[in-house]
Amino acid sequence: MYPRRARLLLSAALLALVVSACAAPDAPGGSTSGSRSWTQILQQAEGQTVDLWMYGGDPQGNAYVDDALAPAAAELGVTLRRVPVADTTDAITRILAERQAGEEDGTVDLVWVNGDNFATGKQADAWRCGWSSELPNMTFVAENDALVTRDFGTEVDGCEAPWHKAQFTLVYDSARVAEPPTTLSGVLQWAQDHPGRFTYPAPPDFTGSVFLRQALYSISGGVDAVPARFDQDAFDDLAPTLYETLADAAPSLWRQGRTYPRDSVALDRLYADGQVDMTMTYGPATLTKLVEDGTFPESTRVLPLDEGTIGNASFLAMPATAGDVEGAMAVANLALSPEQQAIKADPGTWGQFTVLDTDLLNPSDRERFEDLPTSHVVPPYDVLARNALPELGSAWVAELDDGWRRAVLGAGS
């Protein structure tokens, strides 16, 4: 597809933009709520139209925003407009251009974002900061929850409001894998014992990239062995063993490791077609629907790892150039409300794990979460997130991905 073809070019140009954006005039950054009360902010939000730019490849997510969040926003007098993009970097590109042009009434008010895109924007001073910590519903988020205070190692600093949690999850077809492995090294061993039945998306795909970090943790001897902040010495120390292990496994992968699926969509398709027996995802919430509609086989199951898997949260960030600040704050706060979080957590709606600490809720709100239907494919979040591992800093991500391309890609037979 045409936007994909442009992606390589985009990353290069994006870099150039980031560099030049740093030279742009100062953003109207910092908190804008100032001394205003929440009631005053809600009053000013009335009549505003909030443009939420989000990845549009998840129909359940689109339906949740259109059918649940937008009507609730309308009750506050705020029009919520969803702008579907094929990739979140499209939104970042637009924001950086607005930022560079000194725009103050920009067309992006909120972005569904995390990780590298957030870090890129933060480096370029492209986010409005200090606002999300003032949202009334933040009282239901645990203060010391590392998943929501740092985003892939980047301090959130009130530049984005948490939206939901995700957990890296391996998935297998129980009809084909009789004795599923229980550790990541077990998975790699299984791949060597069953030639051609396993592969992973080529980094820098989001999912392929987290598989790499998960493997790094496993091969280096656990989370404590890898410093969260990127460190060249640690990289030089740990990466060679990781790449060696993956290169050794390559000849037993799908197509003898000569090629890799370009993204998680491609890997999902291989899995759906029965060409491989495992797939992996950052959004296990979508599995229930994929099994229900026949995309994935009935026998699809989640593969828990003894050492735990990497978890993170995604957020709603507000650009420094946002034109409808109060409306955006009202929507972000609404999205954090126990009611909306519970609606979103329902597997029939979207099935995304809440960022709220249910212990902080009043009994009736807590009940909303306790009453949620369970899925026969995906275990509840507390089971999935057992031993959840933290994300590495985003500088690690790029270095690991680059190194993989040099050391592992092409190592197949």
């Binding site: 936007p3 443009d51 129909p59 339906a63 042009a101 969509v265 759906a272 077609d273």
Partner: protein
């Protein structure tokens, strides 16, 4: 036109039918799974045919605002064609009739937008456009018209090359004003070229993703945006196929109109 002897026509008609059949198959076969997907409620990868039939994808496409998006795309394509065709006619006339002393530099400038990647242009331009304060919708039309200009210009240059400038002179000799000669003699003779050029310009506006999104600031949600975002996710094959089929209806309709117009004008010319 004089009729050719019947015995010469029979084999060539057979050959032509075969070629047409092969071409049609070549174009149609890849579309079969696409069309099948639009009616599939459940189709797991291993099955040859959908396990369950249903129109869920159509409902989903309508819920996603497919009709409004198609309407916007059509409007965008039409306005781009309206801007780029007359400009292309002016440029095509100047180039085709060699009215310029140095035709190479303007040709290169006009071809430029085809050589450049729209994404790169969109990314370079959006800052400038924002600084100038041009509204997103207007900017999208202007930029896409520039992208369409090479197609209209070079189609119409070929058209004008095949027309004799003397025709216009003869009309002038017979008493027509310069504008009248152009309107009543040259333009009708160039109809096919104009329609082709307009069709190409329409497609530029119709199929664009990058310019509409980045320069338009997400204010105009068009069909390519819906298709692009649906295609980016897992398990959306039915929805993506339905959107793609819906989106191919207007260009096919335009093609049908074009074929009819060309057939009619060709018939007229042969009479």
């Amino acid at each position: 036109m004089r009729l050719r002897p019947a015995n010469h026509r029979a084999p060539s008609r057979l050959r032509r039918a075969t070629v047409t059949a092969v071409l049609v198959l070549w174009l149609v076969i890849p579309l079969v799974p696409l069309v099948m997907w639009t009616g599939a409620a459940r189709w797991s990868g291993t099955a040859r045919a959908p396990q369950d039939l249903g129109l869920d994808a159509w409902h989903e496409a309508l819920d996603a605002g497919a009709l409004t998006a198609l309407g916007r795309s059509m409007l965008l394509g039409a306005v781009v064609a309206l801007i780029a065709t007359p400009l292309g006619a002016l440029a095509g006339r100047a180039l085709g009739w060699r009215l310029l002393r140095r035709p190479i530099p303007p040709s290169l400038v006009l071809l430029g937008p085809v050589a450049l990647a729209p994404f790169a242009v969109a990314m370079g331009l959006d800052v400038v456009i924002l600084r100038l304060g041009i509204p997103g919708e207007v900017a999208v039309l202007l930029v896409l018209s520039v992208f369409a200009l090479p197609y209209t210009t070079f189609t119409l240059r070929a058209t004008y090359q095949s027309l004799d400038p003397a025709l216009e002179e003869q009309a002038r000799v017979l008493g027509a004003t310069p504008a009248g000669a152009r309107r009543r003699v040259t333009l009708p003779a160039a109809t096919n070229g104009l329609v082709t050029a307009a069709g190409l310009a329409f497609l530029v506006g119709w199929s664009d993703y990058a310019v509409t999104l980045l320069i338009g600031g997400g204010q105009i949600i068009t069909a390519p945006m819906l298709i692009g975002s649906a295609a980016a996710g897992s398990g959306n094959d039915a929805l993506t196929a339905t959107l793609a089929v819906l989106a191919s209806v207007p260009p096919l309709a335009a093609l049908a109109v074009y074929a009819t117009v060309v057939a009619r004008t060709t018939a007229k010319g042969n009479r």
